[in-house]
């Protein structure tokens, strides 16, 4: 007899086998005529520009983190808002302390300038070095796309 978990195991097994068989069956019967365009990374029909390893602005992550914190706060405050009356003044205080600590975190972010989107003043860089680097990467990209 199968247990409940046994059924799940069979599901997993079928899922894995289905994927493998589908891929290999396709490989066996399809024609294979690769061209440069076909092998390129798909980028909405555009020609590829540069590598996808771009540095994202760290501020995106900071904003996402701040959003996450307040999202979780809302989730935690809903049950509290429904029941705090039953617990008298203590129940009220628990929520308030939670909010104060979170508010402190908010004040911290604000004061430390994490909420400002303005770009920081760029550092002086060695232009020659940068240019040389840039040329190198460009030529690398060209070589790669020619291959």
């Amino acid at each position: 007899m199968l247990t409940e978990f046994g059924k799940i195991f069979i599901f997993i097994l079928v899922a894995i086998l289905f994927t493998i068989i589908a891929i290999y069956a396709a490989k066996l019967i399809r024609p294979s005529r690769p061209t440069k365009e076909k092998l390129d990374v798909y980028e909405c029909g555009e020609n590829i520009e540069g590598t996808p390893w771009v540095k994202f602005n760290i501020r995106f992550y900071v904003v996402a983190l701040i959003f996450l914190i307040f999202d979780v706060e809302v989730v935690l405050l809903f049950p509290w808002a429904l029941t705090y009356q039953d617990y008298g003044i203590y129940g009220f205080l628990v929520g308030i302390i939670f909010l104060v600590v979170l508010g402190l975190g908010m004040a911290y972010e604000w004061r430390k300038g994490d909420l400002e989107w303005a770009r920081p003043t760029p550092k002086k860089v060695d232009v020659k070095f940068e240019k040389k680097n840039l040329l190198q990467t460009n030529s690398q990209i060209n070589v790669e796309s020619e291959n």
């Binding site: 039953d86 617990y87 203590y90 129940g91 600590v101 402190l104 004040a107 911290y108 004061r111």
Partner: protein, 502 residues
């Protein structure tokens, strides 16, 4: 309704933790308000730690279960002598690290972020204080995470070098994998037993209706998480890289306090969940899920042997001390492997002494690195003559770490070996002894560089100012004193031996 009043009744058990939390909030507030005058922050932190320490001492003779749920007798939080002992070790270490940080060039360079630094340091301390008292798998996981997340950030805090960032990243990756495995183990335990409380787990195990194979598997997963925290083999791979890359003050903190908390967690986990009864002579009789003693002995011997033999070829002093701390974790695990109150006593004594000597060794490496910007052993040539105080003190700490007679390290090893011999584990004791001989080589190699190699043109005199000199003396004197007059530590540890069981 019941639950909440239970929680409020238990608040008196966590007063030290509350004091510490308030200190964190104050640190952040002062960091925000007095943006210019950051020199005040370490003093606030020190006062907060002293107040916390006062509260820990005030509840020293207290033993109770806190944060019970419903009508249950056992709670998430257990207050007993054992937890208080480790809380004191953690607080003393934190206080020393605060002094340590104010004399570390790496930390001084990041002065404008010092508010963050101290808040995170206290975050680690808070996590550890909950860790040593936690008797519920959920609280265990939460406190381990609180400790880990703060330490990931602190490891890469100075942002001075690639080494620093590498250490932080490696620590993060190893840490998240092992804590994920630990959580998986916890979820299986919950699935099997329907409880996360260690005491209830013990009750259910004694009743004996649980599938032991599955439970054993989940326990191994949980031990991965704990083993990573105490850097026991085979989960020690992160240790050398992280210890070498982190700022020295954080390295010292990780190697002492974080390890202490991990050990406290491991000991409490085993003692409360798996001991079926303790007989009159203090031997623990464990439930036969697997052969606990053999398992612990194998891990312990593996840990100490790997640590000692890898330390042999290190020329970076920080890295060498990292491997030596792995080896010490092995000795400590042997103390636990005795599975008796005598072994536990040896572990407690060992930890107290290990704290002093390890912090001392790291502090001197720090002072020298401040001056010469290097931790390489070849830069220590002749330093014993140019800077006599540091040379002699480092020599004493290293001799103590080896475990040679006039120092406290000898007493620590003595109690450990007595416990091993009393438990008839002669072979194991001999292996540990041979390991000590191996460790003698790499500790003495530093002495050779300091005293037997002549000072060359690159040798610099490191003459510390008054305050670091006082700190060095405050660490050296106990090492020598406890080597001769060790009754206070032993009686203190004996008072703190009780782990609250059912």
């Amino acid at each position: 309704m019941m639950d909440l009043s239970n929680i409020f009744n238990s608040i008196s058990f966590v007063i030290p933790e509350i004091a510490l939390s308030i200190t964190i909030v104050l640190t952040v507030l002062f960091d925000l308000i007095f943006d210019k005058d950051k020199k005040i922050i370490p003093y606030i932190v020190l006062v907060g730690l002293l107040v916390t320490g006062y509260f820990v001492f005030a509840q020293m003779d207290f033993a109770n279960f806190g944060f019970t749920v419903g009508d249950e007798k056992y709670g998430m939080f257990t207050l007993d002598g054992f937890s208080n002992y480790f809380k004191i070790i953690i607080l003393v270490t934190t206080i020393i690290i605060i002094f340590f940080s104010s004399h570390s060039n790496e930390i001084i360079k990041t002065f404008d972020r010092s508010g963050e630094y101290y808040a995170l340091l206290l975050g680690m301390a808070l996590g550890m204080m909950f860790m040593v008292s936690a008797s519920d798998l959920i609280l265990i996981y939460l406190s381990v995470e609180l400790l880990s997340l703060s330490s990931y950030v602190l490891t890469g805090f100075t942002k001075l070098s690639e080494r620093n960032a590498e250490a932080s990243l490696k620590y993060l990756i190893y840490g998240s994998v092992s804590s994920g495995l630990m959580l998986f183990g916890i979820s299986i335990v919950y699935g099997l037993t329907g409880t996360t409380n260690l005491y209830e787990l013990n009750t259910l195990l004694q009743a004996g209706s649980i599938n032991l194979t599955t439970l054993g598997f989940s326990l191994i997963l949980i031990f991965v998480g704990i083993g990573y925290k105490i850097s026991a083999a085979p989960f020690h791979f992160w240790t050398p890289d992280v210890y070498e890359g982190a700022p020295i003050s954080i390295t010292a903190y990780l190697s002492v306090a974080s390890k202490a908390a991990g050990f406290a967690l491991l000991i409490r986990f085993i003692k409360t969940s798996f001991v079926s009864y303790t007989d009159a002579s203090g031997n623990w009789h464990l439930l036969g899920i697997f052969d606990w003693q053999t398992l612990l002995i194998i891990i312990a011997i593996l840990t100490m042997t790997l640590g000692n033999f890898s330390a042999l070829s290190q020329s970076n002093l920080k890295r060498m001390l990292a491997y030596s701390s792995i080896a010490h974790a092995g000795y400590l695990l042997l103390g636990l492997a005795v599975l008796s109150d005598q072994g536990l006593l040896a572990v407690l004594i060992y930890f107290f002494i290990y704290m002093i000597m390890n912090l001392g060794a790291f502090f001197i490496v720090n002072l020298i690195a401040n001056k010469i910007n290097s931790e390489d052993i070849h830069d220590y040539d002749g330093i014993g003559y140019t800077s006599p105080l540091l040379g002699v003190s480092l020599a004493i700490f290293l001799v103590s770490l080896t475990g040679l007679p006039p120092t406290a390290g000898f007493i620590a090893k003595l109690y450990l070996f007595i416990a091993l011999v009393d438990a008839n584990m002669i072979t194991v004791a001999v292996i540990a002894l041979l390991n000590t001989v191996v460790s003698l080589y790499y500790y003495v190699r530093v002495l050779k560089h300091m005293y037997l190699n002549k000072a060359n043109e690159s040798t610099q005199a490191v003459i510390p100012t008054l305050q670091p000199r006082i700190i060095v003396l405050a660490l050296v004197i106990p090492v020598l004193l406890f080597g001769i007059y060790f009754t206070p530590i032993v009686s203190f540890a004996q008072n703190c031996l009780n782990i609250l069981t059912k």
